[in-house]
C-alpha cells in the first residue's frame, strides 16, 4: 500500500494525513510496515513539495504494473501580490544574443629567447704575438718593417690618389650647401583680376542729380555718405531735391539718413576722428557740418559773407588735437580754413595767386585738395587751369605759402592724391590722362598714361598696394592700373554704367570701392583679391620704378636746361654779330624800294610770258587756217 503523503506549506492546503500509520488497517498484518519515507516534516516557512512512497516488504520484487492515470494537478501556487512589493519590475530587459562561432581563448608562451648585453673594451690589439704593444721599441720596429714592404708602398700610393681626389672635391664645393634657400616658391595666382558689382544705390528722387562726392564711414566702412548736386551750369530745375544721403551698404533700397542742406552739397567728408560728424561744402559756397546724432539739419553753417563765392569743390578734415579743423577749396581761388566750432568766420585764408601777391582776380580756381596726415604742414591744391600748387601751411607770409607749382595738364585737375606708401609721389587725374609726379621734379610728371578717348573725372591710389591706382572716365568705365604689371594699359577695365562717372572712393581695406555717376547712381564694387593684396617685393619694385623715372626726368630736365642755356648763349652771340653787320644793312626805306623793284620785275616777267604764249597761239591759228 502506498501512501502518498503530501505535506504542504502552512495556510494553503492541509495535509491529508497528519500521522503516519505503522500498521496497515486493512490487512491487519501484524508486521509493522516499514515505511519508506522520503519526506520531511512540513516546515512553516519554506515551500516543500514532498512525495513519500511506502511499500510492503513482501511486495518487493513484484513486477510493476504500470497503468495510465489522468493528469492530476498536484500543486497550484498562485502568485502572491504582497510579495511583489519586494521587487521592481524591470522593463525593458536587455538580452544579448549572438550568433557566431564559438571561440575559445588559448595562450601559448614561446620558448624564451635569452639575450645578453655585452660590452667590448677596445684595447690595442692585432699585434702579432711576438710584439708587445706596450713596448715602444718593438712597435716602432714592427711599424718600420711594414713600411718597407713593397705592397704597402704601392697600396698607399694608390689609396693616396683616391683620397686626394676626394679631399680636393671637398675643398672645391660644399655639396650640402642650400642653394635655393632665398627663392621661395612663386605662387602663380591664376585668378584674373576682376571687379564685381555688389550693390547699386540709386537716387530716390525723380529728378536725378550727379553723385558728386563719396565718403566712407571711418569706422568699419559700413556706411557711405553721398553728396548729390547738379554741376551743370544753370541746369538746376525747381524740382530738384537739395538732399544728400547716407546709405547703409547692406540696404540699397532706402538711404539710412538724409542730410538737408540749404544748397546742394558738392562735397562731403566724414570726420576720421569722430564718426558722427560730417562736413559738407555746398554749391553756393557755404560750408556746413552735420552730426548724425542730431538729425538731418546741419548743426552749423558758415556765414555767406565769409564763405566761398563759387561752389566748394573739396573739403578735407585736418589733423589737429581737437579734431575740428577742416579746410576747403573752391574755384573762386581761395582756400579757407575752418574750425567747425566757430563757423562764422574762417580761421585762415589763402588766395591762390601764382604771382604770390594775394590778388583775387589773378587767382587760380581750385578744384581739388590734397592733404596727407603724415605731412601736416604741407598740402597741395589742384587748379582749374591745370596747375598743381604745393603749399606750406606754416609759412609766415602769404607769399611764402605757395611753395611751387607743377604744370603739365591741359584741363582742371579733378583728383590729386599722394601715394600712401610713397608720399613724395602723387597722382593727378585731369583731362584725358592720369599722371604720377615726383615732388622734386617740377617740369613734368614722371609717369603718365596715354591719352584716352574719354575724359577722366576722378582717381585714387589703392590704400593697400603702392602700385595700384583707380581712375574713372566720362564714358562710365572704371580702370584699375597696376604699373608694376603693365604700364601702357589698365590691368582691368570695367564698364560700370552707361552714363558718365563722376566720383570714386576706395574703402580703407582696398577691397571695395564706390563710384558715383551723373544720374546719381552709386555702384559698390568688389575688387578681386589679386589687386588688393600686397605682393612680395612690391614696395621695393615700386620704389625702384619711381626712382628710375624720377632720375630719367631729372636727366631730361638737366638736358633741357643745358639746351636752353646754349640757345640763349647762341642767340646772344648772334645778336652781337647782327650789330656788327649793322652798317651793311639796309635801312627800312631802301628795303622797301628793293622789294618793290623785285615785285614789279616778277609781274612784268609774268606778263611777258603770257603775251608770248598768246602770240604763239595766234600764229598757230593762222597756220592752221
Amino acid at each position: 500500500h502506498v501512501y502518498l503523503l503530501l505535506s504542504k506549506c502552512v495556510g494553503l492546503l492541509y495535509s491529508s494525513a497528519s500521522s503516519l500509520p505503522s500498521r496497515c488497517f486493512r490487512c491487519k498484518d501484524i508486521d509493522v510496515l516499514p515505511t519508506l519515507k522520503l519526506s520531511c516534516f512540513p516546515t512553516a516557512l519554506t515551500m516543500e513539495i514532498v512525495y513519500v512512497y511506502t511499500k510492503k516488504r513482501n511486495e518487493f520484487g513484484r513486477q510493476c504494473n504500470f497503468s495510465d492515470r489522468s493528469a492530476e494537478l498536484h500543486v497550484d501556487i498562485l502568485p502572491d501580490p504582497s510579495l511583489a512589493v519586494n521587487f521592481i519590475e524591470r522593463d525593458p530587459c536587455d538580452v544579448p544574443i549572438q550568433c557566431t562561432q564559438e571561440m575559445s581563448e588559448h595562450e601559448v608562451n614561446t620558448e624564451r629567447f635569452e639575450s645578453d648585453t655585452r660590452g667590448i673594451n677596445h684595447v690595442e690589439g692585432g699585434w702579432p704575438k711576438d710584439v708587445n704593444p706596450h713596448e715602444m721599441e718593438q712597435t716602432i720596429r714592427f711599424r718600420k718593417k711594414v713600411e718597407k714592404d713593397e705592397n704597402y708602398i704601392s697600396t698607399v700610393m694608390q689609396l693616396g690618389n683616391n683620397m686626394e681626389h676626394c679631399i680636393k672635391q671637398n675643398n672645391a664645393i660644399d655639396i650640402y650647401r642650400e642653394y635655393f634657400e632665398e627663392e621661395e616658391v612663386v605662387e602663380e595666382s591664376e585668378v584674373q583680376p576682376s571687379a564685381k558689382t555688389i550693390n547699386v544705390f540709386r537716387d530716390p528722387n525723380e529728378v536725378k542729380r550727379t553723385a558728386s562726392s563719396l565718403s566712407w564711414h571711418p569706422d568699419g566702412s559700413r556706411k557711405l555718405a553721398v553728396a548729390y548736386s547738379s554741376l551743370e551750369f544753370q541746369k538746376v530745375s525747381k524740382d530738384m531735391s537739395l538732399n544728400s544721403y547716407i546709405w547703409d551698404i547692406e540696404n540699397p533700397n532706402k538711404p539710412e539718413m538724409t542730410l538737408k542742406p540749404v544748397s546742394p552739397l558738392v562735397c562731403l567728408e566724414y570726420n576720421p576722428k569722430d564718426c558722427h560728424i560730417l562736413v559738407g561744402g555746398s554749391y553756393n559756397g557755404q560750408i556746413a557740418y552735420w552730426d548724425t546724432r542730431k538729425g538731418s539739419q546741419p548743426v552749423e553753417m558758415s556765414t555767406i559773407e565769409h564763405s566761398h563765392r563759387d561752389p566748394v569743390y573739396r573739403v578735407i578734415w585736418l589733423q589737429s588735437k581737437t579734431g575740428t579743423d577742416t579746410f576747403s577749396a573752391s574755384t573762386d581761388g581761395q582756400v579757407l580754413w575752418w574750425d567747425i566750432r566757430k563757423m562764422s568766420e574762417p580761421t585762415e585764408r589763402l588766395i591762390l595767386d601764382p604771382n604770390k601777391k594775394g590778388n583775387l582776380d589773378n587767382a587760380l580756381g581750385a578744384i581739388s585738395l590734397e592733404f596727407e596726415t603724415t605731412m601736416p604742414t604741407k598740402f597741395m591744391v589742384g587748379t582749374e587751369q591745370g596747375l598743381v600748387v604745393s603749399c606750406n601751411r606754416k609759412a609766415k607770409t602769404p607769399a611764402e605759402k605757395i611753395v611751387c607749382m607743377y604744370s603739365g595738364h591741359h584741363g582742371p585737375i579733378y583728383a590729386l592724391q599722394r601715394n600712401p606708401f610713397f608720399p613724395k609721389n602723387f597722382l593727378t587725374v585731369a583731362d584725358w590722362t592720369a599722371r604720377i609726379w615726383s615732388e622734386d621734379i617740377k617740369e613734368s610728371s614722371i609717369m603718365w598714361t596715354k591719352y584716352h578717348t574719354a575724359y577722366l573725372s576722378d582717381g585714387s591710389w589703392s590704400p593697400v598696394r603702392p602700385s595700384v591706382f583707380f581712375t574713372i572716365k566720362m564714358d562710365g568705365t572704371l580702370d584699375v592700373w597696376d604699373f608694376l604689371f603693365k604700364q601702357n594699359d589698365p590691368t582691368l577695365s570695367v564698364k560700370v554704367c552707361d552714363e558718365a562717372l563722376n566720383s570714386l572712393r576706395v574703402q580703407d581695406n582696398g577691397h571695395f570701392l564706390a563710384c558715383g555717376s551723373q544720374l546719381g547712381t552709386v555702384t559698390l564694387l568688389e575688387i578681386s583679391s589679386g589687386l588688393c593684396t600686397l605682393q612680395k617685393n612690391e614696395k621695393a619694385l615700386a620704389t625702384a620704378m619711381f626712382e628710375r623715372e624720377t632720375k630719367r626726368e631729372k636727366i631730361l630736365e638737366a638736358r633741357h636746361r643745358e639746351m636752353r642755356l646754349k640757345e640763349r648763349s647762341r642767340s646772344e652771340q648772334s645778336k652781337e654779330e647782327d650789330t656788327k653787320e649793322g652798317d651793311g644793312e639796309e635801312s627800312p626805306e631802301e628795303l622797301i624800294t628793293r622789294i618793290e623793284k623785285d615785285f614789279y620785275e616778277i609781274v612784268e616777267a609774268e606778263l611777258k610770258k603770257r603775251d608770248k604764249g598768246e602770240e604763239k597761239k595766234v600764229a598757230d591759228a593762222i597756220k592752221s587756217d
Binding site: R143, Y152, L159, I167
Partner: protein
C-alpha cells in the same frame, strides 16, 4: 719609401685635413698623425664599419666591391679608402 712620405705629407697639408691614419688588415695603425688613443679608436671602429660596408655592397651585388667610404658628420668628414691589406683614413673639415 720617399714617395709614400711625400704622398702622406701632401694629403696632410691639404686644406681642412685634421688627421691621417694608415691601418693594416689587423687594425694596427702603421702611420698616424693623431695621438695614440684617438688613432686606436678610429682604427678599431672604422675597420669594423668598413667590413660591414663592404659586405653590404657585396651582398647586394657580388660582383661589386667597396671602393671608398665617406662619413659626413656635423663637425667633419671621415674618409676611408679600403684595400685588401691596408686602409687609409683621413679626417677632414670640409669647406664651409
Amino acid at each position: 719609401m720617399a714617395e709614400v712620405e711625400e704622398t702622406l705629407k701632401r694629403i696632410q697639408t691639404h686644406e681642412g685635413v685634421i688627421g691621417t691614419i694608415v691601418v693594416n688588415a689587423e687594425g694596427i695603425p702603421i702611420r698616424t698623425t693623431l695621438d695614440n688613443s684617438t688613432t686606436v679608436q678610429y682604427a678599431g671602429l672604422l675597420h669594423q664599419l668598413t667590413m660591414k660596408a663592404r659586405s653590404t655592397v657585396r651582398d647586394i651585388d657580388p660582383q661589386n666591391d667597396l671602393t671608398f667610404l665617406r662619413i659626413r658628420s656635423k663637425k667633419h668628414e671621415i674618409m676611408v679608402a679600403p684595400d685588401k691589406e691596408y686602409m687609409l683614413i683621413v679626417i677632414q673639415n670640409p669647406s664651409e
